[in-house]
Symmetry: C2
């Protein structure tokens, strides 16, 4: 009886019902071996008195323990502990107090180093100026329209079916709508069978890479490059071959030389507004790459995340729209269009590849949010997204022009940059040490990365992407003002 | 000039602007080598006459081609093709007509068999009665509340930050809310650091499996088992060791025997309403498993997808809440609570494991829908989800009772089943051949699986899950009526 009093501490301020506090404490006691199998428990009245609770509370607790199989209640003889603590004895996990919290480290073995670490940022602190990596301005996101569309859809019974489990490939209405959109904007003659809906472009890269790559396969990437993609290929066991990116994009002559030397399985390329350098791959190099892929039988993973945001002209049509041989896997995203946290991307590829990729996608993530996919399809169909893209492109072009003017006027002695044709950031090489600049800027309330994530073993770029799209004109002036002050100080010091 | 007339077919009914039709057709001509480098193109007036379009349309088309780098415009000399078709010549992909559509098969090599095929169902045809696998009734889903919450959140500026890129681990508000919910419902003393938000339980299984398993590792699963999990472990290169599931769940004595024979890396178990058999793992076996995990140093992947839907009593607390050593990775889901297409799941594990898993999750899928995560957290906090769970449990309990009464009254001579403690389906073993039953039922308008997906090489179960939760009482009667007629016919035939 004393043992029970010691085991069961009731907290009347807890949101947990008292009867559950009692049953949980007794389960812990049984599990720890303090309440041994066969132990006769006090009657409900006795325990109620002991704990100063209503008898019906103890009855509920015993019923709970009985239903869960921890105790046996016999009409005449009384109530007995049923579970078998000796099972626990050999390892010595009995007789220990319940842990204060969940353990911090896993007790089983796994090789942490097998998973490559990658920056997993949290939300940037608010109230600060931030040069992000080139993200859209979330203040423009048509999230209210999305909420309204979800409500409207939910009221039409026929749409309720999109709440049930659907296909791993994505809903047919979204794939149909996207096929039309891709044809109108990118000259792509695709059917819904050529499309896999993903959560953002990254899932497309992961899924495509997983289908194509075996450990030890050779992959070509540009340098400087997009570290999320590079890390993903490394994680999948691929060997990375880095080819320089110059003013016309990835150097295809070097790609050809590599192809002559070794079997290349995959080439990863960002044709519009390359990440990080923002350069656009020239038409000649695009054709050269298609030619090389057909000749050396490798796959091209064309990551066209930024296609819709081109300011100088219509963007160059993607390689996939010229690919009569089926060598290109095209990855795109709506996260730049809508908002980064509204996760929709797509993979366009030959139908047989899409089917295989769909199997894999289902293992990764059973399916997408089909109801949300249906809502997004609606927003395409009723023109909301097209209007939003137009409006954003106009605004971002103004912001690019204003920002590049500022950089030219205020920082031309401190950085080198080229005006990007599109996208949401400027690739700026700094004369002063970016690590110091980044640290000093933070003191003055401006977040700017130190650019070390772009460096390779051999090359230190001392450069960073300055995202301008999510800063309005006034914020741009403030940010550049801070940067100017920091760079002037550094120049004096240097 | 004739060549251009032949190349450029203008469709005035197309939604694509005419100037783009012209530029796209000329790009195709350049790409095919029909318009060779250095070719002098007609003046804008000449081409406009030829094509019967406004001269400004041709000006726009030429500007487009120039901006994209396909042609060169020289003030006095004229306009010339710039790109270099000979690059394409060697492989013979020149001089071909543009493909009518995208190729159906990939031109690069990949091993289709490396990705294990898995059923990728589409939406079941409507207007039919369906015995699904045990899905919630989407007619109940609080989707309207979700839409309203999204709209409300979007109007408060502070919430807009959840539209930007966030953390791969899931938003802090949702992890905090979930930590409280898991403590209240499952006695789990976890912090937000112990939680990774995923898209549904399947992503949790995939991510956890990817972190733990190396090719060749031994995994224990139950049989009959959950094919999505089994296929995922196989895909990750694991060897599966099948242990029978009986009326108390997975046979832990057999598990112990296996541990003595070989190094086990991972055990996968569904403690509540095991899929497919619906049995609940007994407390003694739970303790035995924890003991074995500590002794033989393997990880337990506890898939508690159905915890919130227990009808007989409070559900037994999950193993993870007794795991003082950090051997259990706990996977749960909100898809059963809310709606299958609203994809939210979670992984609970020691903090070091969660950090490693977060790296991997970021490669799979940069992050979740943070705005939606924030909305879901709101729906927990304001009580909407708790009320919805209560309401659903009450309704599904009634549906279970009614359904099991029906099965007992109408089909007792044709099937064997046990009333499940919870969940959304009944595991029914059929006397007649299920393949035939499934085919005949479909003719009469009832969809019921043939159960072959549960069979192993050695065992044919001739059993299937009869999902009752998404059928109201009248639909249950209709479905059982059809099944009865089919089974009576089969019995006469047989």
């Amino acid at each position: 009886m004393e043992l029970l009093q010691e085991l069961i501490a009731i907290d009347h301020t807890s949101p947990q019902p008292v009867y559950l506090q009692i049953s949980h404490a007794m389960i812990a006691g049984i599990r720890q071996g303090k309440l041994r199998k066969g132990l006769k428990l006090p009657g409900t009245r006795g325990l109620a008195d002991l704990l100063h609770v209503n008898r019906m509370t103890v009855v509920a607790a015993y019923q709970e323990l009985d239903a869960q199989g921890w105790i046996e209640m016999h009409a005449r003889q009384g109530t007995f502990v049923k579970a078998v603590p000796p099972l626990l004895a050999p390892t010595g996990i009995t007789r220990q107090p319940l842990p204060a919290g969940f353990p911090a480290a896993a007790g089983f073995s796994y090789d942490k180093k097998r998973i490559l670490p990658i920056a997993t940022s949290n939300f940037p602190s608010t109230g600060k100026l931030i040069f992000n990596d080139g993200f859209p301005d979330i203040r423009l996101a048509p999230i209210d329209a999305l909420g309204a569309t979800i409500r409207n859809l939910s009221r039409r019974t026929a749409n309720r079916k999109y709440l049930q489990y659907g296909g791993a490939q994505g809903t047919l209405p979204l794939r149909e709508t996207l096929a039309e959109f891709l044809c109108d904007t990118r000259g792509l003659a695709v059917t819904p069978e050529n499309i896999l809906i993903t959560k953002g472009a990254q899932m497309g890269i992961f899924v495509a890479g997983s289908v194509i790559l075996k450990p030890g396969d050779d992959v070509i990437v540009g340098t400087p490059g997009y570290d999320m993609a590079d890390t993903t290929f490394r994680q999948l066991g691929a060997r990375l071959n880095e080819v320089p990116v110059d003013a016309e994009g990835i150097d295809t002559a070097r790609v050809e030389r590599l192809c002559k030397k070794k079997k290349i399985r995959l080439l990863y390329v960002i044709p519009h507004h390359h990440n990080p350098t923002t350069v656009t791959l020239s038409p000649e190099r695009r054709m050269h790459l298609l030619h090389l892929a057909a000749m050396y039988k490798f796959a091209i993973l064309e990551d066209d995340y930024d296609y819709d945001f081109h300011y100088a002209s219509r963007p160059i049509m993607p390689m996939v729209s010229h690919d009569s041989r089926g060598h290109v896997i095209y990855v795109g995203t709506l996260t730049k269009t809508f908002a980064p946290s509204v996760r929709f991307g797509f993979v366009v590829a030959p139908a047989d590849f899409i089917q295989t990729a769909t199997y894999f996608r289902k293992m990764v993530d059973t399916q997408g949010d089909s109801f949300m996919e249906h809502a997004i399809a609606e927003l395409y169909r009723d023109g909301t997204l097209t209007r939003h893209i137009k409006k954003s492109v106009k605004l971002y072009r103004e912001r690019r022009d204003h920002f590049c003017d500022l950089l030219q006027t205020e920082l031309r002695d401190h950085i080198d940059f080229t005006v990007p044709d599109g996208g949401m950031s400027v690739w700026a090489r700094f004369h002063a040490d970016l690590k110091k600049v980044s640290a000093r800027a933070l003191e003055k309330g401006l977040v700017i990365k130190d650019g070390t994530s772009y460096d390779t073993d051999k090359i230190k770029y001392n450069a960073v992407r300055l995202g301008f799209a999510s800063l309005n004109l006034k914020e741009q002036e403030q940010a550049v003002g801070i940067l100017k002050a920091v760079l002037r100080d550094e120049a004096v010091r240097g």
